[in-house]
């Protein structure tokens, strides 16, 4: 490392973050379109993307809101989708725990799937980096993503009203979710968790307030964790 400064680490982060625009832009655009179709105002849609800032949970909440689910159910389900970020937070804390409080507070706000994945890969590969360098790299990686997520949502709001029903936009949300889920099928444990989630959710589809989905999610998490334990025991033997 030729005396890498915090500034050069920032630009390395930016370069690592740019390719993710290919995922973030269409996804943000779609949220703008779907939220507008669902009846949210432009302000509500923009606030949603700016302050919640978590695509998958935004789509999950929107879907339940369209189904008129009670507020508590909408919130519980969407937050369950975001629980994985507690894991990101714990993992980032081991690298950035020494950074000033306000810096960590800002890191938390822009801690999304893409920035987490890029940053932790780099931190693992380069343990020689100082904390300010790591912070610089992290903010670099989110610099392209954060503003473009909000711009893409605005673009979707603007386009939203002009899209006819024959475009079958109702199915844009399932397609997006399936595209996000597929690459998550990394291990047998992930696959069995997903299958459990599907089976329980379908069996309990008639349960009021979409409580079936929360039951499905809880069961699937336990199945995933148990399968992981069994597999570890087997490889150790």
């Amino acid at each position: 490392m030729d005396g890498a400064t915090t500034k050069s680490l920032y630009w390395q982060g930016v370069r690592a973050g740019v390719p993710f625009l290919l995922v973030v832009m269409p996804f943000g655009l779609l949220f703008g379109v779907v939220a507008t179709e669902a009846g949210l105002t432009a302000w509500q849609t923009m606030a949603f993307s700016s302050v919640v800032f978590a695509g998958a949970s935004q789509f999950a909440a929107l879907q339940l809101m369209v189904e008129n689910a009670p507020m508590a159910i909408v919130v519980a389900t969407a937050l369950a989708v975001n629980l994985r970020m507690a894991m990101y937070s714990a993992s980032l804390a081991t690298y950035l725990g020494d950074a000033p409080f306000l810096t960590r507070a800002l890191v938390a706000y822009v801690n999304v799937d893409q920035s987490y994945a890029v940053a932790v890969n780099t931190f693992e590969d380069r343990p020689d980096l100082t904390t300010p360098q790591k912070v610089g790299y992290f903010f670099g990686a989110v610099t392209p993503i954060v503003p473009m997520w909000i711009v893409a949502t605005a673009l979707g709001v603007w386009l939203g009203e002009g899209i006819p029903p024959s475009m079958a936009l109702d199915f844009a949300v399932p397609i997006c979710f399936l595209a996000i889920i597929a690459p998550m099928m990394r291990t047998l444990a992930h696959m069995l968790a997903a299958v459990t989630s599907i089976v329980v959710a379908l069996l309990l589809a008639g349960v009021p307030y979409n409580l079936g989905l929360l039951a499905a999610a809880g069961t699937a998490m336990i199945v995933g964790a148990q399968v992981e334990v069994w597999q570890d025991q087997r490889t150790r033997r």
């Binding site: 269409p26 302050v51 969407a78 507070a105 399936l178 299958v195 989630s197 964790a225």
Partner: protein, 109 residues
């Protein structure tokens, strides 16, 4: 949907999501979670999203809850391409192309 309903959900999700993201970075920085908690957290996304999508794929509102060949094929193609390529954008594009292709073919036939 009332304005109160929408704004309350946005506000609660904003605060809740931020607290989840801030949790370990902010409050107990550097201290590791117990293994069994991490093990369950690893599966949250994969536990929630498939259960959310499955009924939307099998019983779409747009067809009054009747299984629809165009939407079913689009779902299978999206998932298949996603698993094979691990590329979210490629999966979305192929799924969208299948949906429109099938809707057009069935509508024309």
């Amino acid at each position: 949907m009332s304005d109160f309903y929408i704004w309350s959900i946005i506000a609660i999700l904003a605060v809740g999501t931020y607290l989840i993201r801030f949790s370990f970075l902010g409050l107990i920085a550097g201290r590791d979670l117990p293994d069994w908690v991490l093990r369950h957290l690893r599966y949250t996304a994969v536990a929630v999203l498939p259960g959310l999508v499955a009924p939307l794929v099998l019983w779409p509102d747009a067809t009054d809850g009747q299984p629809d060949p165009a939407r079913l094929s689009a779902a299978l193609v999206t998932f298949g391409v996603g698993i094979l390529t691990r590329n979210v954008v490629a999966a979305i594009l192929c799924g969208g192309a299948t949906l429109y292709g099938m809707l057009w073919a069935l509508g024309a036939g």
